[in-house]
């Protein structure tokens, strides 16, 4: 399903490195040795930018004095349990305040899908200081299912719930669970994978995209076609729960022993010619565990997963140095630790390599980083006390993400978003002449025009933000410039660029005139929407719109 071609991500990656990034460019050279340099606001910021969507000022301030060990420990806290989504509509047959995934009322899947997207975005926007939400998106991009394709948002809800539960957990266990997840069974044709006529769709992606990868770093195949066929036979019998006429009866899956191929499955020499075969019908289901265990005995599986993690948190560009000093030892740690992901993340996030000057600011913001990060960093508040209103606003925010080519819960295909694998370009794929305009328009919407729901407006309160980001020192123009740049850009911008930003606010006026204007503005105690504040707010809008338009703002 949604499969465009036989994808060989890593192979593509290797050819592009020499094509695109100039060989003379400085690259991170640190190893996995724990970082022992200074821990300042800059290091805290780098950690939070990589692991969250746009750290807020208060979060950077909280992490700066902690030092690295405490900071990383804090950021690796598991995801909190969160309330399930509510219905976005109270008029479509769903019952208000009853989480819709439990509702047996007449399904309105269109509204449920909208609701789930809003819920997903809301969780990202209101994330705690934790890597969890970003890991969730990582796993969504890794174990892809598409909500439109699955066509029942309840399935996608339980899929997300599973990913959340294991986001910092055991990869092997997650792989076993996801293989029988109802959304995955729908997305990759599990229902039609039955004894006698196996459907290889899931088995192929399981190997190629979810676990071991098609080829190793030298381009040698990691398995043969027969292995895919045998894996598909192992998986026969898992299916969604439907009535005789095809009506979905439950958003969960079941195992039908009668549909399971109970003959031995013979794997190739890539898997030491292993035979998977459970004889007792009560043990048929365990063949899945045998299959996943077999795949995870291979070093290549650990290497493949670690490379995905590296591309997500550091950079897609894996050169020989990185392969040897970062990927290989991390893969060993993952395998030796029975595929627990958290210790591997901890090693990476505490490494010299991660904090290397040349590893900072190297990723292009995904649309999620850009949109959710901007909302968070500028502290634009959703009306949480009006959940329905809030969902309407969130769904409109989702429209911006889709315009930027990131339709969350609907990746373009089973390989995920192409920015993480497609050569050439990779991250650059996010930004083309059309999406750059869309990004710019979102900036204007958030900063100036606002997003409207029937009764609410969602818009940055820039004077308030200025007070916040400067710790109430906003009457000093230089503090304004420095503190905004420090929070909003990944690295320091040049003195010239700061001067340029300052000119937007001052247009040739001496610094003290800012103090006069700001003081007058604050003393007047102007309400956020009061016309008498237009002059100052227009200045601030122009200032932040320009920040949003600067290339630096699109890097993470």
């Amino acid at each position: 399903m949604n499969r465009k071609s036989f994808l060989t991500p890593f192979k593509n990656k290797r050819t592009s490195v020499t094509m695109s990034i100039p060989s003379s460019a400085n690259r991170p050279k640190g190893t996995l040795t724990p970082y022992s340099g200074g821990w300042t606001q800059k290091e805290a910021k780098h950690l939070l930018r990589a692991t969250m969507f746009g750290p807020k000022k208060i979060e950077v301030d909280t992490f700066s004095p902690l030092g690295m060990n405490l900071s990383v420990a804090k950021i690796l806290n598991p995801l909190p349990v969160i309330v399930p989504p509510i219905s976005i509509s109270t008029t479509q047959g769903d019952i208000e305040n009853l989480p819709w995934h439990l509702s047996n009322a007449k399904v309105n899947n269109f509204n449920r899908k909208k609701s789930l997207k809003a819920w997903m975005l809301s969780n990202m926007i209101h994330q705690e200081a934790s890597i969890g939400e970003k890991m969730l998106l990582f796993w969504h991009n890794h174990f892809v299912t598409g909500m439109d394709s699955v066509d029942d948002a309840r399935f996608t809800y339980y899929y997300l719930k599973l990913l959340r539960q294991y986001s910092l957990g055991n990869v092997k266990t997650l792989t076993k669970k996801i293989s029988t997840n109802a959304a995955m069974l729908k997305y990759l044709s599990g229902d039609s994978n039955v004894k006698g006529s196996p459907n290889e769709n899931y088995a192929r992606e399981l190997m190629e995209l979810f676990t071991i990868g098609a080829v190793d770093k030298d381009g040698n195949p990691n398995y043969i076609e027969k292995d895919v066929e045998e894996a598909a036979r192992v998986l026969t019998g898992w299916k969604t729960i439907k009535s005789g006429n095809g009506t979905i009866l439950s958003p969960h899956s079941t195992f039908d022993a009668n549909k399971h191929d109970n003959q031995p499955k013979q794997f190739s020499a890539h898997f030491k010619n292993k035979i998977i075969h459970r004889v007792l019908p009560t043990d048929y289901q365990k063949e899945l565990d045998d299959l996943i265990d077999m795949i995870f005995t291979r070093e290549e599986t650990a290497l493949f997963i670690v490379r995905q993690v590296y591309a997500w948190f550091v950079h897609y560009d894996i050169d020989a140095f990185t392969e040897q000093n970062i990927i290989t030892p991390l893969a060993k740690q993952l395998r030796d630790g029975n595929y627990e992901i958290k210790p591997v993340l901890e090693t990476l996030l505490k490494s010299q390599h991660f904090y290397d000057q040349f590893a900072r600011g190297t990723s292009v913001k995904t649309p999620a980083d850009y949109v959710v990060g901007s909302i968070r960093q500028l502290e634009v508040n959703l009306p949480l006390n009006f959940p329905i209103e809030s969902y309407h606003l969130l769904y409109k925010i989702d429209e911006h993400l889709r315009d930027m080519q990131m339709d969350i819960l609907n990746p373009p295909n089973v390989a995920g978003w192409s920015a993480f694998y497609q050569s050439p370009g990779y991250y650059q794929i996010w930004i083309n002449t059309a999406t750059y305009q869309v990004r710019s328009e979102f900036g204007q919407t958030l900063l100036k025009n606002g997003i409207y729901s029937p009764t609410q407006r969602f818009k940055a309160d820039l004077p308030k933000f200025l007070n916040l980001v400067t710790n109430l020192q906003a009457s000093d123009i230089n503090v304004v410039i420095d503190s905004c740049c420090e929070l909003l850009f990944p690295l320091d911008i040049t003195a010239n660029q700061k001067q340029y930003l300052k000119e937007i606010l001052l247009q040739g006026l001496p610094d003290f005139e800012w103090t006069v204007e700001w003081t007058q503005f604050t003393l007047a105690n102007i309400q956020p929407d009061s016309p008498s504040g237009y002059a100052m707010r227009k200045k601030l809008e122009d200032f932040f719109i320009e920040i949003f338009n600067m290339a630096e703002y699109h890097l993470n």
Partner: protein
């Protein structure tokens, strides 16, 4: 993504018939003034250049009321400005002011370039421009000037933006092929803000070495730098008008020498070049900073030199070079000097009284310069009074003689040919248009017929279309409504009239006799394209005509 794909074709796509423009294939005319006229502003050949002097220019040290010297020479403790005043003998005297028989008006000695322009008949000085109850906040006062609001009303849109909105109601769905308004710099001016979006665009100045933009500093040699450069490149390319600007810039040129180390001159040089390259943009905004002279605006001991003198010299030389450039160039609309007029403005003037640090503080009104070949070359208004004879003391601030919105309104009415009703509605005021013979334009009220243009404010049809159209058989042009044809092959013709938004507003058959006798379509004021095709041999031609 939403707007990009509409460019270049949609303004004409409403018409299904093939159009032959003056016998040339359609595509070869894609860049011609004629083509642009169909999708662009009312007067693609009409340009207004706005020079914003940021900080509040000291008007009394710029346009100097010579008769006021007995008062100005008082010390600042007595309300005068002796510590910063230039010597009366150094003032460049402009002329004898015919309005109030005052002893004359002069320019600061650093502005010889502008006094020459005055002598050449291309400069107009307006005295005492402001608005009632002025704001002394830089931000708020700038906002008022750019929005055209009252002192106590707040307007989200810009005055020029509202005009462009009015002219281009379908801007969002059918944006014009070329930018309507340009700010040289990094941010499109708030003057261009329309109801839905800013109708202008910002253009980084490509000519100036010292002019900095946020995207210019070299990216570091790293992966970060590599990704940065990619995004910068995309940002440049993603501008809808990148291509048309690049084309106009490449096709354009400069004929005059501009002063060096002069940021304003650099900006105006770019403006002249874009006009010369037939960009067809109506508004250009350029900026000059550092007029906020609270301290050391003059060198003590030599008051005709110093910071403010340098500023004024740069301003004067930049304007003069720009006008010289316009005077010697033509573009496809014709002589450039006839297409452009410029205007300086600042958010406020400064106090009459100087302060103890050789500077001046925020004040009320200030003079403005207007320049161009079609400008009425005179001083409008009287010298500002600094002495309150009734009270027998120095005034604290200068009085207003002209409301700045009257200048905008006059420009819209007489330069861009906007109808008075629209002018009124753009500002929420009723402007006098000169139909009342007893009105006094010096009353500080709202007028759209200030005598700032030559020929009593009748729109001057300039440029290539005029000549071509009269040769082709349609006349008179401009017209008050009646349009006649001459030299037609006898027969029946299909006539189609297209307005500036590309809408077909009239489509009917007429005999050649009717056309020769004259047709009146009752068209509102504006520019139109009239296509007529012979119903028998299918020959077509089209003309552009201005209805006054």
């Amino acid at each position: 993504m939403k707007r990009r794909n509409f460019l270049k074709t949609t303004s004409l796509s409403a018409l299904s018939i093939p159009i032959v423009l003056n016998g040339l294939p359609f595509t070869s005319l894609a860049n011609s003034p004629f083509y642009k006229a169909l999708g662009n502003a009312a007067y693609p050949d009409r340009v207004m250049v706005l020079i914003q002097l940021n900080g509040g220019n000291d008007g009394l040290n710029t346009v100097i009321p010579i008769e006021m010297y007995p008062h100005l020479t008082k010390s600042n403790s007595q309300g005068g400005r002796s510590n910063i005043l230039v010597d009366e003998n150094d003032v460049l005297k402009l002329m004898y002011n015919s309005i109030d028989q005052s002893p004359g008006t002069g320019l600061h000695p650093a502005m010889s370039a502008l006094s020459n322009l005055f002598t050449n008949g291309q400069l107009n000085v307006m005295q005492g421009v402001g608005y009632p109850n002025p704001s002394f906040s830089h931000f708020r006062a700038t906002d008022i000037w750019l929005s055209g609001s009252d002192s106590n009303t707040y307007e989200q849109t810009g005055w020029a933006g509202r005009f462009l909105d009015h002219e281009h109601p379908n801007y969002l769905t059918t944006p014009p092929a070329n930018p309507l308004a340009i700010t040289i710099g990094s941010i499109s001016s708030n003057a261009y803000k329309g109801t839905q979006l800013n109708m202008g665009m910002a253009v980084q100045n490509p000519t100036a070495s010292g002019y900095f933009s946020g995207n210019i500093d070299t990216a570091p040699n790293s992966i970060y730098g590599y990704e940065l450069e990619h995004i910068r490149k995309i940002a440049q390319q993603s501008n809808d008008y990148a291509a048309s600007l690049a084309t106009a810039y490449a096709n354009g040129q400069n004929a005059a020498t501009y002063p060096s180390n002069n940021s304003l001159a650099d900006q105006l040089k770019t403006v002249a070049r874009l006009i010369s390259g037939d960009l067809g943009t109506n508004f250009y905004m350029v900026n000059m900073g550092s007029f906020d002279t609270h301290n050391d605006q003059v060198n003590s001991g030599d008051t005709k030199t110093g910071w403010h003198a340098n500023q004024l010299q740069q301003l004067a030389e930049a304007i003069n070079a720009f006008q010289t450039d316009l005077n010697s160039m033509t573009n496809s609309y014709g002589a450039m000097q006839d297409q452009v007029f410029g205007m300086t403005f600042s958010e406020f003037g400064r106090t009459i009284k100087s302060n103890n640090t050789n500077g001046t503080d925020h004040g009320t009104t200030a003079p403005m310069f207007l320049f161009g070949n079609k400008i009425n070359p005179t001083v409008l208004g009287k010298n500002p009074e600094v002495w309150d004879s009734a009270q027998g003391q120095m005034k604290s601030d200068l009085d207003m003689q002209f409301d700045f919105r009257s200048i905008y309104a006059t420009a819209l009415y007489q330069w861009f040919g906007l109808n008075k009703g629209a002018v009124d509605s753009l500002f929420g005021k009723t402007f006098e248009d000169g139909t009342n013979p007893s009105q006094n334009i010096y009353d500080g009220g709202f007028h759209c017929n200030l005598p700032i243009f030559l020929n009593g404010g009748i729109p001057i049809a300039t440029g290539v279309e005029e000549g071509k159209i009269s040769a082709s058989g349609i006349y008179p042009n401009p017209s008050l409504g009646l349009i006649k044809y001459q030299g037609l092959q006898s027969g029946t013709y299909q006539l189609q009239v297209i307005n500036n938004d590309g809408k077909l507003v009239h489509d009917k058959q007429y005999s050649s006799t009717e056309m020769e006798n004259g047709l009146n379509f009752g068209l509102p004021r504006g520019t139109y394209t009239i296509i007529y095709s012979n119903t028998k041999n299918k020959q077509q031609r089209s003309d552009r005509i201005l209805i006054q």
